[in-house]
Structures are given as C-alpha cells and as structure tokens.
Symmetry: C2
Subunit: 399 residues, 2 copies
C-alpha cells in the first residue's frame, strides 16, 4: 500500500480522489498490484458526508511528519500557503505533485532544486493544459530537439469567449457573462481575460524548453478585453481566427522572445481550429518540425488525469531529473524589438493613417478604420500608434 496526501479538496483535489477510486484497476496494473491509499486530505473545511471525510485534517505538520506518507499532491491553488507547504514537504523528503501553475511559474526553480538535492520529484504535468500531455512529451519525447517555437492556446476561458463572440456575433461583455453563467469563467475573471493565467503557463513551458526559469513578471502580457466582434469578423474574412496565445520563440539572435497576447492565426495553422474551452499547444523542434497537442485544458477529471500520471511516475521512480535551473535568464530577448505583422483598428481617418503608416490598404469596419501595418517591431508600432493620436487597438498576426 502506498500512502499519499492531497492538499486542498477543491475541484482538482476531489477529482484526484475520484480517479483513484474509479480507475483503481488501471492504476494497480501500473503499480504491480500495489494499492494507493489517500491517508490525509488537507482542508480547512470538513466533509462529514464524504466517504473520505475521516481523512480530512487542517494540520499540515501531521502530514509532513508522518513517515508513511510517500508523496504529496498539492491542488490548493494560489501562491500561499501552497508554496510553503510544498517546500516543507520536499524538505521532509516527500515528492510533491502539483496542478498549481502559480507556484510552478513563480517558485518552480527553487522547488525543483530542493527536489533534485533530495533525490525526489517535484512534478507539474497538470499545471499546463489540464489533462493534455504536454510537460512530459516536451521534456522526454522532444528531448533530442532544439525547441524553436511554442505557440499555445493555454486558457480555456478566453478561448471559449472568443469562440462564443464569433458564433453568436456578440461582444466581449456578453460572451463573458455567458461564460460566467456556465461556470467557464470565474466571478472575477481578470486572471483569465487579462492574460495572467496564460502568462504563467507560457512561463512554465518556456522554462522547460530552454532550461532556465523565466518568471511571469518578465513576460509582456496582454489580454482579450479590447477585442470586438468586428475584429473577429474582419480577421475571419481574411482567413484568420483571433486567439489568445502564449508564445515563445528562439530568434536568430539567439535570444528567446516571450509574449502573451491575442494574435491573428491563419486558418492554415492547426491551432486556429482549436475552439471553445479546448487548449491547443503547438511546439516546433529543429528536427521533429511542428507537433500539436490538443484537449480540454481544465476541469476536475482531466486535470486529475495529469496529476495521476505524475503520481505513477514518482512511484515508478522515473522522472527525477525533469525541470530547469534558476540561472539568470540572459537569453530573454527584449520583446519590444520583436517584429510581426499587425492588424490595426483605429478611429483615425485614412489620411492620418497614410501619413503615419505609409501606403497601407485601409478599410472601414463599423465606424473604425482597419488595416494591416506590415512587418513592424512592437516599439515602432507603438511609436506610430502614438503619432496617430486616436483610440487605436493593435493585434499581432502570428507568423
């Protein structure tokens, strides 16, 4: 019998308990018949009617000090006390498995280093893409590649809203409200719609791909609150979908450019077809070319599926070396030098636009002017938009 503890009995934590009970046969088959036993559940609440109600405790030290507990699953969310408890567990020699992207993005290097020193695991497959296999495939299956580029739809809420806006010809606020009613968006949706969640996830994928911790606060982050239905329509009529992406790419100057922002994505690109609450992550390696991973990026059971993959790996002692180091990320490029095509929507008139942007093809969209600015650095586009002097929105076109 292998004793484990779950920290936090919310959506993901209870999903983990459900999978352990539901698929006990499959799990035992991978553990040479050994059974998993949830010895403790850490939560401030009590669950008197739950079959595991008697396992619930609010005392982290009881778990940490119990030598029978082989590993700890952290599904609390939020930075504190999730980080503190994880560190405590690792220092006590217990492997930690987490679905908590906030802790991994902000403190991953430190926790990975403690895990390495103690010859145990700190694993986080569930922190990006819910149940979609992405951390392990990137780390193991693409290990012989130099990663050149990552572009991912990493937030199901935003993807649902953008899909909804297009399907129902509606604006951002209406689509957000509907997403909230269906439980796809939180009452306070800012971490999703302003891009912070995507930013944490691209921080994790970038750190994994390049081996050094890239902290989320170093990543420029734009959300989808400015996107209108007319933007989506304009893009679609020209063969593009609008998607919120986390992107990072290794440029020819040897620097890595990381960005969270809405993009126009060509319909020829597979991720343009990833809709609703689905996530899709495209990874380009220098030998494998493009590979794409898709699926539900959140939810109780899908996320629990990823957590349990890590649990099995820790028990089978298979992945102690995964991760990255906390060296200075000196390969990080200045994103304001990054060059892409831009779609521009502005209240400025055609003459003013041509004065600033030269001979671009300007069209009307409602009472706005819209056009593609052509390949421009972010710095230059911002200077030009300042010169325009009107209410103006820019959206990048994915290369």
């Amino acid at each position: 019998m292998i004793n484990i503890a779950i920290l936090g009995f919310g959506v993901v934590g209870s999903g983990v308990a459900e999978v352990i009970s539901k698929n006990s046969k499959e799990l035992a088959a991978r553990l040479d018949g050994e059974e998993l036993n949830i010895k403790y559940i850490l939560d401030k609440r009590t669950f008197p009617d739950h079959p595991l109600g008697s396992r619930v405790t609010d005392d982290i030290d009881k778990i940490i000090n119990d030598e029978d507990v082989f590993l700890v699953i952290e599904t609390m969310g939020g930075l504190h006390p999730a980080y503190d408890f994880s560190k405590k567990a690792l220092l006590a020699g217990k492997s930690v498995i987490t679905s908590n992207k906030e802790v991994v993005a902000s403190c991953g290097a430190e926790l990975l280093s403690i895990a390495r020193s103690n010859n145990i695991g700190y694993l986080f497959e569930a922190s990006v893409g819910g149940g979609i296999p992405i951390i392990r495939p990137m780390w193991q299956c693409l290990a012989a590649n130099k990663i050149i580029r990552i572009a991912g739809i990493l937030n199901g809420t935003c993807n649902y809203i953008l899909t909804k806006m297009e399907k129902e010809k509606t604006d951002f606020e209406t689509a957000l409200k509907e997403a909230q009613e269906l439980g796809y968006a939180e009452r306070n949706p800012s971490a999703d719609v302003e891009g912070m969640d995507t930013c944490r996830k691209i921080s994790i994928l970038t750190s994994l791909a390049f081996g050094k911790h890239v902290y989320p606060e170093k990543i420029q982050c734009e959300g989808i609150t400015d996107i209108t239905y007319d933007d989506i329509l304009f893009a679609r009529n020209r063969g593009y979908a609008i998607k919120l992406l986390g992107t990072s790419k290794m440029a020819s100057d040897g620097k890595v450019y990381v960005l969270t922002a809405p993009f126009l994505v060509s319909e020829d690109n597979e991720i343009a077809g990833v809709n609703d609450v689905y996530n899709g992550i495209s990874v380009e390696g220098n030998v494998v070319g493009d590979v794409l991973f898709c699926g539900r990026g959140a939810g109780s059971l899908p996320t629990a599926s990823a957590v349990m993959a890590d649990v099995l790996d820790v028990i089978r002692d298979c992945r102690k070396t995964i991760g990255w180091k906390n060296e200075e990320a000196d390969f990080l490029g200045d994103i304001s030098n990054n060059v892409t095509d831009f779609y521009i929507r502005t209240k400025a008139d055609e003459n003013k636009i041509k004065e600033v942007f030269g001979n671009v093809k300007v069209e009307k969209s409602g009472d706005n002017s819209v056009f593609f600015a052509g390949k421009t650095s972010q710095k230059e586009i911002e200077e030009k938009i300042a010169k325009l002097g009107f209410d103006t929105v820019k959206i990048r076109v994915l290369d």
Copy 2:
C-alpha cells in the same frame, strides 16, 4: 561515451546519425555530458564518402558480440531480417529501439517479453506517427485512464492523396501519381493506399491501450482506392471530410472493435482538419476526455526525433516496463457486428434503393445515387448491398 549501433542506413537510420551530430549539445545535456558514439552501422551497401563510412559493416554478429555496444537502433524496415536481428540483440542483453512498425505489429509481444526477462528495453516510439509523441504519452500520461477510443490518421500518403483530390478536384489515380512524383508515395503504393500500413499502426496502438497483442491480420482493413472526388464533394457539402482512419473502441459489451477504413469525419472533429502529409491521433480516456496529437507522421528527421527520445530513455533507464502481453486477445469484438452510419454510393436506382433500405433520402452524384443508410451493422449493410445487386461503395461515418 555510450556506444550504439544503427541497423540499416536508409532514410531513418541516416536521420538518426544526423540528429546525433546536429543536436549533440542538447543530447549531452540530457546525458550528464556523456557522448553518444555510433560504433557500427549495419548495411549491405558501403558509404565510402560518408564521415561514418568506416563504421559500416555487413556483419550483425560483430555488433551483437561487441560488449561495448550498449544499445541497438533498428531502422531496417521489413520483417526479415529486422526481426531476427532485433531478437538476437535482445537475447544478447542489448536494448533495441525501432522505427519498424511491421516488426512491432507482428512480433511485438515476443520481443517485449524477451526485453522484460532480460531487464532491458524494446522501445518503438517511432513506429507510429513518425515524430509525434504518441506511444509514451499514451503509456505514461494517460496511464490513469481506461482508454475508450482511438481514431487516427496514421498514414501520411493517404492523407496527402485525399487532401489533394479535394483541393484539385481530381481523381484517386491522378492524386496518387502526383504523390509519387513528390516522393510522398512509393512506386508500389499498395501498403499505403490499401490500408495495411494504417492497420499495422492501429494494431500497435490498440495493443498498447489494452495490454494484449492484437495482430494486424485480425483487423479488417479497407483502403482508399475506391474513393472518388464526388464522394469527397458530397461529404464536404454536408460538413464532413473523408479520412482513412485506424480506429479501435471499447464497446459497452466489453469488447474492443478495431478497424482500418475510410470514414466520413464531421468537421466539428479536430482530426477532420488534419490535412496533407500530417498525421493526427485522437485518444479518448475515461477521465481525460479527448486528446489529440498531430504532426508529420513520417520523414527522416521527425522519425529520428522519436528514435532519439527512446535512446535517451533507455540510457536513463526509464521505460523498461512499457508494452503488452501475448495473451489471447479474447476482448476483440467481431467487427461485422459494429454499428455505424454509412454513406452509400451506388449505380442502383432510387426505387431499388428504397426497396432494400427503406425510406432514405436519395440524391444524385454524377451518374450515381448517394445516400446515408442510417445506423446499421456492417453485416447488415453488406447483406443489403448484396441485395442491391449493383456496383456499390460504402463509407462509414465516424460517430
């Protein structure tokens, strides 16, 4: 220094050598600085001008008997002597990594069992989907799931031909010829277009998902040679793409139904958008839901990327337990009882059709009648087609 041998210096074998040289830094980083050395290349030909020309030998025993050779990469293709050499190497205690789907599909259980007894690895990530991570994600990342269904575009040649037929409004023969000219199809294309290649790959994925060897000759296999442009057009106008799929599903009777055949795939299904030479594999688990893996399913470097992932795993001693057993696959259902909707194209007239199929909606397509037969077992549809007594083609609709 870790000494390895490559059996077969063709497309994949030379790709492996290229990746080892091209990405030596990335590989060394995963091997704590240890270097890989290609000590032998087995081939009947000589390569006097190649930098590794001096490593080429035609004597397998020289490789098997060299205790310095830690592992063997088999990229020969074909059943013999690839199977015999692999077995020899495993019996001599050397791990074997292969891209050879024919050997894995026909002799996997035996070779896996030898590897298990000798506590070494027989790994085959490159045997399905080229460089797309699929074997390892299914085995490790979805390990906590009961697999419910697999549906995969597993043959890039067929997918290229079907995409070409639609784009250029052309027939099968013309698209095949073009694929041959571009090197996407072999001079003798029958293993691809008649479905045998897909059949081998779904045999491997099904064995992996359900833990027992399902041999390709037990899998019903239909190719794409009967598909016309009019079929594709009819399907598209109703929201479907036509794709050659390898499928297996766990039905409610506890049996697994495996099939290789062209299917109408709804455009809502992500794999309908996987075009050209790309492969796409959808896997449904009972907790994760649907996940999709896409990428180039063949080619020298992509396939070498998958081979090298296995090489790194063997060296890091991480995956000895992967695979399945050679028990009788008594869970295999009789595919003729399998029920799907069918698209039917026939020379029979509407009266005759309604006499046999009842009140279906019959339309004209060229000089054929076409219609959907509704949910029918394969057995029943074959009986009905026999009653029609005319030249008739059936294509399944994917649920």
